[in-house]
């Protein structure tokens, strides 16, 4: 995402660990922050951690912030990035002490989304998420900025309300606009359903390999990288699953501690998952068992309240990178979190047949029927139409036409009534 020839922004990463928390967990969280910073185009020039309870004023201890200020003075980074959520007061105090712009993990995620948002809709979503983040801070920011200045006669007026109100108004406007776009998308989805397409969505933790699997399944070239949040816009392509055409959608990945307002802001992106007939929950099986469990947990937590009556297939991707025994052990231990597990390798194409069979089993049911009618010109056009709309298992042209077909209810009923008019 960094233009060649441009110098990368430099950042120092800071994390406060909870006392008595597991080292392994802290290291994983730090690693994720490193990857996020990398995805946002930062070069990491320093790291700092402290284990303590949060300080109201500085989040870290005062001494540690002074140490951070010294490091900033020596290394001159463009930004200081905190893993932990910071209050406006803390951001202000740390920035003042360190003389460097300070952001937290959510602002970093917003930055990534903002730089990759290309369509009108995704730009609106990013703006809405930014405003949602800003709203509770709006008053505090103005109080801090205008500390010594009060507008109006003798300084009794206030900026706070008008600014917060302005943020609210902008949010309402954006929501309305997003609603209109969402309605258009819902109509498109209803249209796809009525055309007989079933919807299948890829979901999973960020960097699980959803886009690679998508490319391999539909033979496409959607951008896929070993980087967090490569996909921000859902892409849909048609996929043939044992004779039935389904629409497969690649979606944005989940991440730990993603706040609910952010899930709401990107709801229309996530709707692709929530309104699908089948969800493919992709996990990277080459990772350690505990890490897979934690990532699955995040997926369950993000999806559980929104999913209704959806079939879920858990796809253990990257099976070529571990041994058969390791794979079996992981699938067995994660059984309670992984519905309908299937192991595949998006790189080699291993396990695709089993995956398609699992998807087929969970698709909305189609009926199977045998129709017989006399041969005529109209009958031939009916056969052509049936071939287009359903799956034909066999056709027999001896003594009239006998056709064994599988299709959704609506098509079967229409075919039966057409056959009646023919005979």
């Amino acid at each position: 995402m960094q233009e060649p020839g441009m110098s990368m922004m430099r950042a120092i990463l800071v994390k406060r660990n909870e006392p008595r928390s597991e080292d392994e967990k802290n290291e994983l969280q730090m690693n994720e922050l490193r990857e996020l910073a990398g995805a946002a185009g930062y070069e990491i020039i320093g790291e700092l951690t402290q284990t303590r309870h949060p300080d109201r004023k500085y989040h870290l201890g005062r001494g540690k912030v002074e140490e951070l200020a010294q490091i900033v003075a020596d290394l001159r980074p463009d930004k200081v990035i905190f893993h932990n959520p910071l209050t406006t007061m803390q951001i202000y105090n740390i920035s003042e002490t360190c003389r460097c712009e300070t952001i937290d993990k959510f602002q970093l995620i917003l930055e990534i989304f903002a730089t990759r948002a290309t369509t009108h809709r995704s730009k609106l979503q990013v703006e809405l998420a930014r405003l949602e983040y800003e709203l509770p801070r709006a008053r505090a920011v103005i109080s801090l900025l205008k500390k010594d200045e009060r507008p109006g006669f003798m300084g009794l007026g206030g900026y706070e309300d008008s600014y917060a109100q302005d943020v609210k108004n902008r949010m309402i406007r954006i929501r309305k606009e997003l609603e209109t776009i969402q309605k258009d998308n819902e109509t498109l989805r209803a249209h796809r359903h009525s055309r007989g397409f079933s919807l299948v969505a890829l979901a999973g933790y960020t960097n699980a390999g959803k886009s690679t699997l998508f490319n391999a399944l539909v033979d496409e070239a959607v951008e896929s990288k070993d980087m967090l949040f490569t996909t921000l816009l859902p892409t849909t392509r048609s996929l043939n699953v044992q004779g039935r055409d389904v629409l497969l959608t690649d979606t944005v990945g989940f991440i730990e501690d993603l706040p609910h307002w952010m899930v709401d802001a990107f709801r229309s992106t996530l709707d692709e998952i929530f309104l699908a007939d089948v969800v493919l929950l992709v996990v990277d099986s080459s990772e350690p068992l505990e890490l897979i469990r934690k990532k699955l947990l995040v997926c369950h937590e993000t999806m559980w309240d929104q999913l209704q009556d959806v079939g879920i297939v858990t796809v253990f991707n990257k099976m070529d990178m571990i041994s058969e025994e390791e794979l079996q052990e992981r699938m067995l231990s994660l059984g309670y979190l992984a519905p309908d597990p299937v192991a595949v390798s998006a790189r080699t194409g291993m396990g695709f047949d089993e995956l398609k069979a699992s998807i087929h089993d969970l698709l909305p049911e189609w009926k199977r029927i045998t129709l017989s009618f006399p041969m005529s010109e109209e009958a031939m056009s009916l056969v052509a139409w049936i071939f287009e709309e359903g799956v034909v298992h066999s056709v027999n042209y001896e003594d009239g036409i006998s056709i064994d077909l599988e299709a959704r209810d609506k098509i079967i009923n229409k075919a039966i009534s057409l056959v009646k008019t023919l005979s």
Binding site: H300, W304, I312, T314, G335, Y336, P339
Partner: protein
Amino acid sequence: MFDIIAVDISGRHKVKDGYFMVCAAVSASVTADHVEKVNQIAIRTFRSRSAPEVPDVVKMVEETVSELKFSGTLVTEAGDFYNKPQWLIDSMFSHELKYQESLSERRCIEIAHHVSLSSRKLLLKELDIQ
């Protein structure tokens, strides 16, 4: 399929001069993403003058679960035990206990939550406590 018992307590805030709590335990058979069968639901009420501490919550859950005919792993929200580590809470129970993880476990806790909340509302109305 796994057998679980999802537990939720409503009313952990002061009303008038005490705490009127309802604990609901839902015994269910689940897969990772679906609740296959709800076997039984048990409800019990508890009163206390002071705010419940962790040992009190453990006692309430144990008492409610003892009314069920079915066994299974207890599943609760971490918040019910003041976000204390799972291993610590698990060691205080005679049953196996875990915090909610899968879609179906969350769905069962949702059921327990609605049961405890609505039965508490009904009780407060009937006993005329507001």
